[in-house]
Symmetry: C2
Subunit: 335 residues, 2 copies
């Protein structure tokens, strides 16, 4: 039998209303009463039951996290981007110390109404989502009136009520290509994954193309789906065969793959061959030579999103935010 408000009330010699008031901070009570209640609670080892509270307040103090719909084994581990985002969200929540993170576990290719069910069933107070998602799911989310904050999602023209945190992806692509051009490279390939399905990757590509056009240079597109590092290795082979002198990769792990293969082929990356990635994940400074890349401040991105959600929850900020974080080039050893 767990200790309940009734037990605490009895022990402290007050009503259970008072106990409830002390714990929630509502209503009025004297300092003496407060102390007596807290003491009794401590003595008995009282722990408020959040499920019971949730039932009546209709709040769960839970933030639901939705990972990209195409998540599969190895997505988390294979793309350091997610780790950093998770890290930042965890830190913000930790300091807020009142919302726990709920990671929905949903069957692989299940229909997306399942997620909707779980969101309702768990009664989460807000949603944090990363990446692109099925229109079904987003449409459903729109009918609920909990705040939704999306990271790296480009549906902002469709859903006005959601909040969006994005980076200036087009600018990033532009800066990357421009940097390579300024370094003297002329045959600059683009390496990308999911170019058809990801608006974000498309924007990075557009930036690249704009820079090339400004300088009258031809574009070389290498696009395919697959795991980032492995595809980077494969793209490198193609780039090498075609005699290009530089590559812009729309995500860092692709660049790590390209670098790996180029070194294996004996190509002096950073001299004869220029390479720029995108994201600025930690590994870019850990490989040798260090990879030049577009810093999109991943940690701040997650932080910004989590703080935005918390603010909306606290009603200190209106929903429907459109936040676009700046990017900048970090020139290191590969270009």
């Amino acid at each position: 039998m767990p200790v309940t408000v009734i037990d605490v009330a009895k022990e402290a010699g007050v009503s259970r209303t008072t106990v409830s008031n002390v714990f929630s901070g509502h209503g009025k009570f004297s300092e003496d009463t407060r102390r007596a209640v807290l003491e009794a609670a401590h003595k008995l080892g009282y722990r408020p039951n959040l499920a019971a509270r949730s039932l009546i307040t209709n709040q769960s103090r839970l933030i639901g996290l939705i990972l990209p719909s195409y998540i599969s084994p190895n997505t988390l581990a294979g793309t350091p981007f997610y780790n950093t985002i998770l890290d930042s969200i965890y830190m913000v929540l930790r300091d807020e110390a009142y919302y726990d993170l709920l990671v929905f576990s949903l069957p692989a290719q299940g229909d997306h109404s399942l997620l909707g069910e779980r969101i309702d069933a768990r009664n989460v107070d807000g949603i944090l989502a990363i990446g692109e998602h099925e229109p079904d799911l987003l449409g459903y989310l729109e009918t609920k009136d909990i705040p939704v904050v999306l990271i790296d999602n480009y549906s902002q023209d469709t859903y006005t009520r959601f909040s969006y945190v994005n980076s200036d992806d087009a600018m990033g692509g532009y800066l990357a290509a421009k940097h390579l051009i300024e370094k003297g490279y002329r045959k600059i390939g683009l390496c990308a994954l999911d170019l058809n399905s990801s608006p974000l990757m498309r924007l990075r590509q557009e930036g690249y193309q704009r820079a090339l056009e400004e300088h009258g240079l031809a574009a070389y597109i290498f696009a395919h789906n697959g795991s980032p590092f492995d595809m980077g290795v494969r793209f490198a082979d193609q780039i090498y065969r075609q005699g290009l002198d530089a590559a812009f990769c729309t995500e860092d792990m692709l660049a790590v793959g390209v670098l790996h293969r180029m070194l294996e082929l004996g190509v002096p990356v950073g001299k004869e061959f220029g390479l720029v990635g995108f994201d600025n994940v930690q590994i870019t400074t850990q490989v040798y030579p260090q990879i030049s890349t577009i810093d999109q401040q991943i940690y701040q991105k997650g932080e910004t999103a989590a703080i935005a959600l918390l603010d909306i929850l606290k009603k200190t900020r209106e929903p429907g935010l459109r936040l676009k974080l700046p990017v900048h080039l970090v020139a290191r050893q590969t270009a």
Copy 2:
């Protein structure tokens, strides 16, 4: 107003007991009744409220995840080990499709009774914990009667009721050092973090020392606390100055740091200098040259732990498991 069992019962023309029975699978009811209930539920958009259910069944269908107590910004992102573990846990839960993962958000240096409070408050059905934890917390966990499965924790002699999933760390250290010796290296340094606070690291060290002793070689210990990659870089400088010809790093990110710095110093790693890591995280195959390491099958480890917890929850397996996963050497380019 949410749709409740009462509404569904009315719509389906049955009692709410029957509705409840259909959803929980308990009790008896005809196929026709079942269909009628499900149809009514679907029509009204009924979603069972888990908080209400939890209140009465005393089950939450929530698995609590406890990260290492020393977690800080960058721990997740800085140590790819966690990503893979998380990935595997997520996958197991996803296929089970009924337990969600709860990540507690706890204030930085808060006293650990807080975690206990949250565990009670959320009423999690089971706990998955990674790494070492304060005796306070473990002692508290022992008083609860929910299953606890620990990964990479060496308190198995103190707590009989917990289940443990570990790797053969001592063997790993032994295999790593032995491999370097067989390759002809003689002055083999050990690079480690947290040697004082982590039994796991100590075991890896012991294995290393045993191998050296067997061959009458001297040990060189480099131990310090800090972020793995950065410390690897610093250790490399010391190793270089002292003229050692090989290093065994008790975790891969340390080896990545050593490799990075050695390449910078122009040392041909894999020839004049031998290097072996521990963990077999993905990055060891992504850097160039690829790092030889001890594979501890991280993914399987997380999977094993999650499955064990689920089995104990389902009562198909007794708690108090002691699982020790094998390790093996993966020889690549650095030794």
